[in-house]
């Protein structure tokens, strides 16, 4: 492990100068999984994708009172190409969906995603025509942080859950977790039936079926009324 301190690595008693003094071993045994996961989970660089009030709590989590850098999130990577974990804080309108997806696609492997707050996770109160009903229809999400908005402690707890998830990963077992198919660019992450299930109407504020679309009995062809 390169722990020699002297020029020659030999102490004046003639024994090798190890990490705990003369005569102690000059090497460590460990598992590759442990070392790799230890490195990954303690140097997570977040890519903050803040679109709404959740971003204010995210900033508070990064600031000195809560200080996320205690956990190795030292550097806000405001570029996806140097980021490990995407924090989506706030509601995502459909117009922003391709931007979020492109940021996710640009992040190098391995990468993780936190969906922060009710709106990013489910659409929240914005069960309307313009809003993505949960970013898990667009990017895979590892941890959902509930709240409106969540407290900074909530976000820290979510990121520590990511660390716990990384700790349990294995280079041999989890290789296909984040495999990507370049032909899927522009395609939703979830299948059509899954999107209908994920984005089901909450409450019954409108005369619409689950998953949207005008109820067939009322309008027939949904495009009929278009200008």
């Amino acid at each position: 492990m390169g722990l020699d301190s002297g020029e020659t690595g030999i102490g004046h008693t003639g024994l090798p100068l190890g990490m705990f003094g003369e005569g102690s071993p000059t090497f460590l045994t460990t598992k590759v999984d442990f070392v790799v996961n230890w490195g990954r989970r303690n140097s997570l660089w977040p890519m903050p994708f803040g679109t709404a009030c959740c971003a204010i709590e995210m900033m508070a989590a990064f600031a000195s009172d809560f200080d996320l850098s205690r956990f190795g999130m030292e550097n806000m990577a405001f570029t996806p190409r140097q980021a490990d974990v995407l924090i989506c804080a706030g509601r995502v309108p459909y117009k922003l969906a391709p931007v979020l997806r492109r940021i996710w696609d640009q992040m190098p492997q391995p990468k993780w995603c936190v969906s922060m707050g009710a709106c990013a996770s489910t659409g929240g109160v914005f069960d309307v025509y313009s809003m993505v009903q949960g970013i898990d229809t667009i990017v895979p999400v590892d941890v959902y942080v509930p709240g409106c908005p969540p407290r900074p402690e909530g976000l820290i707890y979510g990121l520590m859950m990511i660390q716990e998830k990384i700790r349990q990963e294995s280079l041999t077992k989890n290789t296909i977790l984040r495999n990507e198919d370049p032909t899927l660019v522009g395609q939703p992450r979830a299948s059509e039936s899954e999107i209908v299930e994920l984005t089901g109407a909450f409450g019954n504020s409108t005369q619409q079926d689950q998953g949207g679309g005008v109820r067939a009995a009322e309008s027939g062809d949904p495009l009929k009324d278009l200008l």
Partner: protein, 237 residues
Amino acid sequence: MADETKSGLDAVSEGPVVSDDTETPASGIEAGAGTHATVDAVREVFPGAVLRHEIQAGDQHVVFVDAAKGHDVLAWIQQDPAHDYAFLTDVTCVDYGGGAPLQVVYQLFSLTHHLTLRVKCELPLDSLEIASVCDLWQTANWLEREVYDLFGITFTGHPDLRRILMPHDYEEGHPLRKDFPLRGRFSRAEQTLRALNQEPEHFYIPSELQTGLEPQHLTAKETRATPQVGADSGSEG
């Protein structure tokens, strides 16, 4: 007064309630002559243009103007030094539903005379067209684009009438109209698919992405580089 024993959660089990279409839009107190100098002057200069004059919320004068004469009236009260409405606070629109005409709202303020005036023009649903006031107030450009985007009102003479908030290829209609379903017309799966296939680069015309240009460079004549499916794949990223 509603039943006081009901809780808010009862509405969930009762299901949606269709609003009363016969209800007329809230109207204010009919204002008499001499209550607002500008309205009196407009009545004199443009006979028959003022359809109604009301006072709402205590001191807000609302004047309903014939839509065909709307531009002339607005031009006159902007340019006449006795009124001088140099500041167009807002252009917006109201849809009261039930087939009622859409109301285009011009909220005006006169900085020199400290007068506010709300001018409304009613447009029947089958002819949603009105003259643009971009030539009078520059700020009307984006405001009218917003009204066009969300209500589908065509502003004739507008230099650059295209969608401003919704994606430029949005095909579900005009969202703030009362006949627009809350969750849109397409299914969520279709909306997600369409959203992911947008090209964020094409949200803007090229000159909008340049800085330091004079406003007159932002013309409507500039055509958007529409992505061709299948072709031009080399330009990506």
